[in-house]
């Protein structure tokens, strides 16, 4: 009897080492590129100016105000302003409440910057109240050193 039959049937085994290597590389890649979804950022079609003279945001203290558009966004209307999980209706009362909220944020941190995110289709009449509210909030704090600093957020498309 030959040696093959003596040992019985051969065990077929896949070498899993390269697969585990590649899988771990993929996991490392996705961990690095994925960002924890920020609650403060609403999904918007931000403006994309040609050849923008923008800069990358740094690690400064900032709060994000989202101008949430009505659906479909092409109507150009906004339904609310959102700061984190807080919502303010688009209208005079909502803008006043927004100004109060921003004022409280300023009193906690006078050097705060405010990121303004708005959909590219939103009409300016819905965005200007936010700028006005920020300006009023900075003035209401009563501290002379506070300037309303706003970051206008756009998207850079190549």
């Amino acid at each position: 009897m030959s040696a093959v039959f003596k040992r019985g049937s051969a065990r077929i085994q896949a070498n899993l080492t390269p697969m585990i290597d590649v899988t771990f590389l993929l996991i490392v890649f996705f961990v690095l590129v994925s960002q924890i979804v920020e609650v403060e950022n609403v999904k918007l079609q931000l403006p994309a100016p040609e050849d923008p003279a923008t800069e990358l945001p740094d690690d400064e203290q900032r709060v994000v105000i989202n101008v949430v558009p009505a659906q479909p966004a092409t109507t150009g209307r906004a339904i609310e302003y959102r700061v984190g999980s807080r919502r303010f209706a688009a209208g005079e009362e909502g803008v006043d409440a927004l100004a109060d909220h921003v004022m409280r944020l300023y009193s906690g941190n006078p050097t705060l910057r405010i990121n303004l995110r708005a959909d590219r289709d939103t009409q300016y009449e819905w965005i200007e109240p936010v700028l006005r509210a920020i300006s009023i909030a900075a003035a209401r704090t009563g501290e002379s050193g506070i300037t309303a600093r706003v970051n206008l957020v756009v998207v850079k498309e190549d």
């Binding site: 996991i27 403006p47 590219r120 300016y124 700028l131």
Partner: protein, 189 residues
């Protein structure tokens, strides 16, 4: 006369009885010893199945949870001060008359835009022309015939129905021309 060294004990006294003693001597005993030597130590292997399961779950989680979004960038803008801070300004300081740029969205669904620069200037039709206009009129290290310093106030005045994209297009033209004092006005008609 010196005492002789103690006689060493036989292995059976030191290690106990030989386990192979009751086996028959000869080829069988030798072959068993040989097999034990050639087999060597037992192979220790890890069961990787559970780890691979977890790794694949992690991979699926990150693949499903990752969304590739385009990079968001910012323009910095300081809003004009309101209220008591204006009262502290020098009363003899002359204000620079700001350059006002009006922008309106026109056409079907406001896809087109119209630019109007306040003043006796040839009007730009596109944001690129607005950029050229602003660059040519800036006093810089290479141009002394310009009208405006880099910190000259520029006010973007979108109409109420102007789309934010067009407002930002005008803002971008001024920013690209390296003006540093750009802001937005209350919406016009």
């Amino acid at each position: 006369m010196a005492e002789s060294a103690p006689k060493p004990k036989p292995p059976s006294e030191l290690f106990g009885p030989d386990p192979l003693a009751d086996l028959p001597t000869g080829d069988y005993r030798r072959s068993r010893v040989r097999r034990r030597r050639t087999t060597g130590t037992a192979r220790i292997s890890l069961n990787l199945t559970a780890m691979i399961d977890v790794v694949f779950l992690l991979l699926i989680y990150f693949m499903a949870g990752t969304s590739f979004k385009l990079g968001e960038e910012i323009y910095r803008m300081d809003l004009p001060e309101r209220g008591p801070s204006n009262a502290q300004r020098d009363p003899f300081e002359l204000d620079d008359e700001p350059l006002r740029i009006r922008i309106a969205s026109v056409g079907q669904r406001g896809r087109s835009y119209r630019i109007r620069v306040e003043g006796p200037y040839q009007q730009p039709d596109t944001f690129e022309e607005l950029l050229t206009f602003l660059r040519e009129r800036q006093i810089g290290p290479f141009t002394t015939r310009g009208l405006f310093e880099a910190d000259h106030p520029i006010i973007i005045e979108p109409t109420r129905t102007a789309r934010w994209e067009h407002a930002m297009g005008a803002f971008n033209a001024a920013a690209r021309a390296r003006y540093t004092n750009i802001t937005f006005a209350r919406p016009g008609g």
